[in-house]
Subunit: 274 residues, 3 copies
């Protein structure tokens, strides 16, 4: 079932509209292509509505947000909503500045996001209106560990129920929930935090999974997270073999997505549903 | 002769001014360096005229165009024209939004481009004032295949004759024409469409070839396309050998440009002139 | 001592605020992560003061500067100064346009930079108010060679004394000086000029070294340059072994930073102090 969702991406080859930061935009484009989707990056108010209209999903990532691109995020989000297209939000660095926290909160208020994908600090900043984000990384105090997992699941479920969005919190254990069921995913590797863009790439990839599986948002988001985690594990095995570093790890991660099959996703998935 | 054109790039080491999208800008810079040229990226109206003036060619790429950068494209284009420097246009995504189609058309009207380098859908959007671009990729209905090649050559020749620019349409078979002669180039590999930036990198590279061979725009553009195609083939052989993915393919492609010699270009070229 | 400075980066894991160009921003983020630091890129006036406030250093890089980001450079610089955080300036392309030269000069006048890191042409453009920068590369006429080294050291010392900043001029021989002592560093390899971003990455890395060693700005900057040079040498050995190209060299360079230890830095350093 989860594997089928990747197969659907490869057969549908959906166009995904990304309004995303300039730090990791190239990696986002390449991971979409690796999964069989096609990226189009566009962030100007003069065209985002048209671009959203020809795409099958919209991914909004607020890293390096600015006065020029923020209005485009709202405009594209509303257009996607009007056209019933899946929309994913990555609240990069929410909690690190008022501009990020407030923009993300306002986007949440005005755009019916299908999925919110962030680390625990970012999602807490959104849910609680502030927080202790450590830049764009999760704050150590917030880390989702075995000890804090139960609380984190309750928090994520409540926030999903409140917002109507699927909430995908990534960390040592990933949580994906629509407010009633929660996928707890144990794929992935800490090395993924040693490159920039693991989260951004996952958000873009989630957009592709939603685009190709719009009837199963919860499962599609879970499948995207599992796919990313499995590819992180594969890239880490290469890292161990060849003693490289984080730049090569990044390439190996994208390469792993390029080779990932639905079967391998299905067999490698390590999760429980609560 | 075509090989000499690459040698000229390596000996002249031309500075190429790129106004280009933020998705693939790093790859554009590295491929210019790989070919022996030097990149300078600059897109602000406060400096583009001066930057163009110290460069030997200008490459304008409209991907991620925006209100701030569009005026800089016109300003730099006019300056380059006044200084008789070669200029190449990449109408990324023309046909996907009015902003892209109209900006590209207006650029064509106001700037005497030496070369227009795009996929068939983009060039059709420019020539016909609209179209069915699939985001930034060519629409399947437009694909240049053996069956449609004759028509595509006629179309490209007419558009070149009408505009006065060399038209370089890339696809399964590439067509480069000045309106009378047409190079039909069969180098390259479909894997090149599995990375972001194949087209953008080629446009930047074309800028370097024009800069170093300003007396032979048609042949210089053809040589740039052949160089890119050959390097795509080389990268694909590495992909087959090592079972990697699109991220490594991208690196191998740029690496292949780094190693490409004029002799290898000459010997590997597969083209006919009609 | 110099090796300890890298160890301090790895143990402190400082957040570094980068206002930097979109060409090499991904590489800057990944090299910071490779060294054990964390990047946050932010360039909007709506948030840069808050971002600077949560970081341990600020790196300002004027490549692809524009009307929107220039005010953010001043705002962040002044905030960092008020909070006594180390600040590094990379005057990319100073001398290539009035906008770059004047922005860099104005930044120097209004922000008490800890370190200025550029090539000799850029630093001369700053010091002398103009110059013959070859785009973003050093002009051949300015190259620091054995023959011109003595003059360059005198120039750098004077400029450091005049500005109160540590001046780090990179080239065949790097010079790092606070006006009295000068480190002359002979690590590195010319292949580093065949990728985009060697300088930008070094500037970001310098930010991390300053953040973790704020009491020893001169030595911290020297250690950052030696680290970068050593990793360039390591990447070049891989290049020779595997006959790759500049794209792979870039990855190998970042990978080398990922693996670099304080001990290896200490043992590999080739410098004299004058």
């Amino acid at each position: 079932m989860l594997g089928t969702m990747l197969n659907n991406v490869r057969s549908a080859a959906p166009l995904v509209h990304c309004i995303t930061n300039y730090v990791t935009v190239n990696d986002c484009a390449n991971i979409l292509l690796a999964a069989g989707a096609s990226p189009i990056m566009s962030d100007d108010v003069g065209e985002v509505e048209e671009i959203t209209a020809i795409c099958s999903a919209l991914a909004v990532n607020i890293g390096t947000l600015n006065q020029r691109t923020i209005p485009a995020m709202f405009m594209a989000g509303k257009k996607a909503a009007a056209l019933k297209k899946p929309i994913v939000l990555d609240p990069v660095g929410a909690g690190a500045s008022k501009l990020r926290t407030e923009t993300a909160a306002k986007l949440m208020a005005e755009v019916p996001f299908s999925v919110i994908r962030g680390n625990i600090s970012e999602v807490k900043a959104l849910a609680l209106g502030g927080g202790s984000t450590r830049g764009v990384d999760a704050d150590a105090a917030d880390a989702v560990t075995t000890a804090t997992l139960d609380d984190a699941v309750i928090f994520a479920k409540r926030y999903a129920a409140k917002t109507g969005a699927v909430v995908a919190v990534t960390g040592a254990v990933d949580i994906v929930t629509d407010g009633s069921a929660a996928y707890l995913i144990r794929n992935g590797h800490p090395m993924m935090s040693k490159i920039t863009g693991s989260g951004c790439m996952l958000t873009a990839l989630t957009g592709a999974f939603l685009a190709s599986n719009p009837e199963n948002i919860l499962e599609a988001a879970a499948a995207a997270l599992i796919a990313m985690g499995l590819c992180g594990e594969a890239a880490y095995r290469k890292f161990l073999d060849r003693k490289t570093g984080n730049a090569t790890f990044r390439n190996d991660l994208i390469d792993a997505v390029f080779s990932l099959t639905g079967d391998a996703l299905e067999k490698g998935a390590r999760y429980e549903v609560r």
